[in-house]
């Protein structure tokens, strides 16, 4: 057994060094401050902010969330304070939180993404950009950037050109071939990919014959989607050579370890924060204990160690 304090949890995401591989996922951790009473932010690998757009957005009408079996659907509609307010107000706390800050960005056009990247570059305290390509491209008929390889590549390239910050592209799982999406994004200059965003789902109220979400469809997250997320992370990690950040249904240290073993260099915890606000910190501790029990010295020694017969 290794001594608890000797265990090295540090990982790298491209050029970025992280204290440990556990981040809070976008949209589930607000702007960090909301959780500050309940979890020690300086114990986390980092925090990914709610998705930020150029202008403030009001989001979708209510109801916006509904619980499903071991999961939830959300149709928040990308409500956020807009990039100016974000830099002016929300970064003040984040800068002092003692953890890495990843800013999740979203736009309606390729140009939006580039302008966001420009505006955020050079802002003190921002460590990386995470590009959410699950949004519809309003200029091209509303098809999501994240489902068409050429559009995903174009967004990535424009963000890449606009910033020196590490660029992480967050992939949508609602595609036939996730590995192909990761490959084009890698070629377009991403420093890393993160996945998965939510699966598209729906729920209906039988009595009223209405969708339970005002937006009709929403994003499915939580433990329910973990098997799909893990499969996609494994497929992507085998395909690209940039780091992969695993997301989807992670609620325990065991879940996080599955993603690391499948090839993720770090993980993000989303919906589980709602159930247990200190879950990220507990996952860090759980990974440490696991490595200790296994007599391992570094979390890096477990990344990508999946043993597959003949493969």
């Amino acid at each position: 057994m290794t001594d608890h304090n000797d265990i090295d949890l540090r990982v790298r995401i491209g050029p970025l060094r992280l204290r440990n591989p556990v981040l809070a996922a976008s949209g589930t951790f607000g702007y960090g401050r909301e959780f500050a009473d309940l979890v020690n932010l300086h114990r986390l690998g980092g925090v990914v902010t709610k998705g930020i757009s150029l202008l403030p957005r009001p989001g979708n009408p209510p109801p916006r969330i509904v619980e499903t079996a071991c999961g939830m659907l959300n149709a928040i509609g990308l409500e956020n304070v807009g990039v100016d307010e974000f830099i002016r107000r929300k970064m003040v706390f984040l800068r002092s939180a003692g953890t890495r800050v990843f800013v999740n960005i979203l736009g309606d056009s390729i140009d939006d993404y580039a302008r966001l990247a420009e505006q955020l570059s050079g802002v003190e305290g921002i460590d990386a950009l995470e590009v959410n390509i699950s949004c519809p491209n309003v200029k091209q008929g509303g098809v999501a950037f994240g489902t068409v390889p050429e559009m995903a590549a174009a967004v990535t390239a424009s963000v890449r050109a606009a910033t020196d910050l590490p660029v992480i592209v967050k992939l949508s799982p609602n595609v036939t071939d996730i590995a192909a999406m990761a490959r084009v994004v890698e070629e377009a200059g991403a420093d890393a990919v993160s996945l998965i965003n939510t699966l598209i789902g729906m729920a209906i109220d039988c009595r009223t014959r209405r969708p339970r979400l005002a937006n009709v469809i929403g994003g499915l997250s939580g433990p329910a989607i973990k098997p799909v997320a893990l499969r996609m992370v494994w497929q992507v990690a085998r395909t690209v050579s940039i780091p992969v950040i695993g997301i989807g249904g992670i609620a325990t240290a065991g879940d996080a370890l599955e993603f690391l073993i499948a090839g993720a260099s770090a993980v993000q915890v989303g919906t589980a924060n709602f159930r247990q606000p200190s879950v990220t910190e507990e996952i860090v501790a759980g990974i440490r204990s696991f490595l200790q029990e296994e007599g391992m010295l570094s979390v890096r020694d477990i990344i990508g160690t999946l043993q597959v017969e003949g493969g």
């Binding site: 949209g27 589930t28 951790f29 607000g30 909301e34 959780f35 009473d37 309940l38 709610k50 009001p58 989001g59 979708n60 009408p61 209510p62 109801p63 916006r64 969330i65 509904v66 619980e67 079996a69 071991c70 999961g71 939830m72 959300n74 928040i76 409500e79 939580g222 433990p223 609620a251 919906t271 924060n273 709602f274 159930r275 247990q276 606000p277 200190s278």
Partner: protein
């Protein structure tokens, strides 16, 4: 406003009526920080189904650090909570949200319907700490029938309030809606606190507006986090959207875009 996560021991469990349960918990951190109208997010169990915490108003707190919840069994989550027994633990997050504004002088009125009575009792007790004379404060309570209401009405009465009741089946007090009791009351008060079913709150809000009386309402919405992080608990406000867990659950009736 500091929030706490607390594993609270269940001290007592009362069944007020069929599927209406009152739990007494020892939750000193949450209890000490709580303000009337605030709520807690309760983790329902160890299983991931149900996954999310459930919001419940703080029904009352004691100086000794005890806290009560009053709830009705309506679905899977409350069914699990109803199974809990003294000695077991319940994981709470709170106190959350913005509660009622405590009026010091002029008479107020508390209007509660069904489980909406839960936060009003805490409010009723806390108002007394400001040296008010409860005989001048009408409390209007409504429920489906006598069994659900009697004990709660007695407790408000014991605090000294001017209690009036209404039941849907006429088994206690006025046979009809609690809102039927408003007319004689409104001219005598300067503020109404109301919590209950949405249609009831809408009526009370409209009547208060017409009478020029201040009105505070406690709204509900589906919640995932209770912390202002998920942005899921939206209601329509007169200006854009508001989030129940952050700007509420207690709102000025005038801030709400009633539907």
């Amino acid at each position: 406003m500091t929030k706490f996560q607390e594993k609270a021991q269940i001290l007592d469990r009362q069944e007020l009526a069929a599927s209406i349960i009152r739990l007494t918990l020892h939750a000193p951190l949450v209890a000490a920080a709580a303000h009337p109208g605030q709520f807690v997010m309760v983790r329902v169990g160890d299983s991931f189904d149900p996954l999310l915490r459930r919001p419940f108003s703080i029904h009352q707190v004691s100086a000794g650090g005890d806290l009560q919840l009053l709830f009705k069994v309506v679905g899977q989550g409350t069914r699990c909570l109803a199974r809990l027994r003294p000695g077991e633990k319940l994981d709470l997050l709170g106190p959350l949200g913005r509660g009622f504004r405590l009026q010091r002088e002029d008479p107020v009125c508390l209007v509660g319907g069904g489980m909406g009575i839960a936060p009003l009792y805490f409010l009723g007790k806390r108002l007394l700490m400001h040296g008010r004379l409860p005989e001048f404060d009408p409390v209007l309570l409504g429920a489906a029938s006598q069994r659900e209401l009697a004990l709660l009405a007695d407790e408000f009465f014991a605090l000294g309030y001017d209690v009036h009741t209404a039941t849907d089946d006429g088994t206690l007090g006025h046979h009809g809606f609690v809102t039927d009791l408003l007319d004689p009351v409104l001219p005598r008060v300067s503020r109404v606190y109301v919590c209950g079913p949405y249609p009831m709150m809408r009526i009370v809000a409209a009547r208060c507006l017409a009478a020029g009386v201040e009105c505070e309402v406690s709204l509900e919405a589906h919640m995932a986090c209770g912390l202002g992080a998920c942005l899921g608990c939206t209601v329509r406000a007169t200006e854009g959207y508001a989030h129940v867990c952050l700007q509420g659950p207690v709102f000025d009736a005038g801030e709400v875009a009633w539907q």
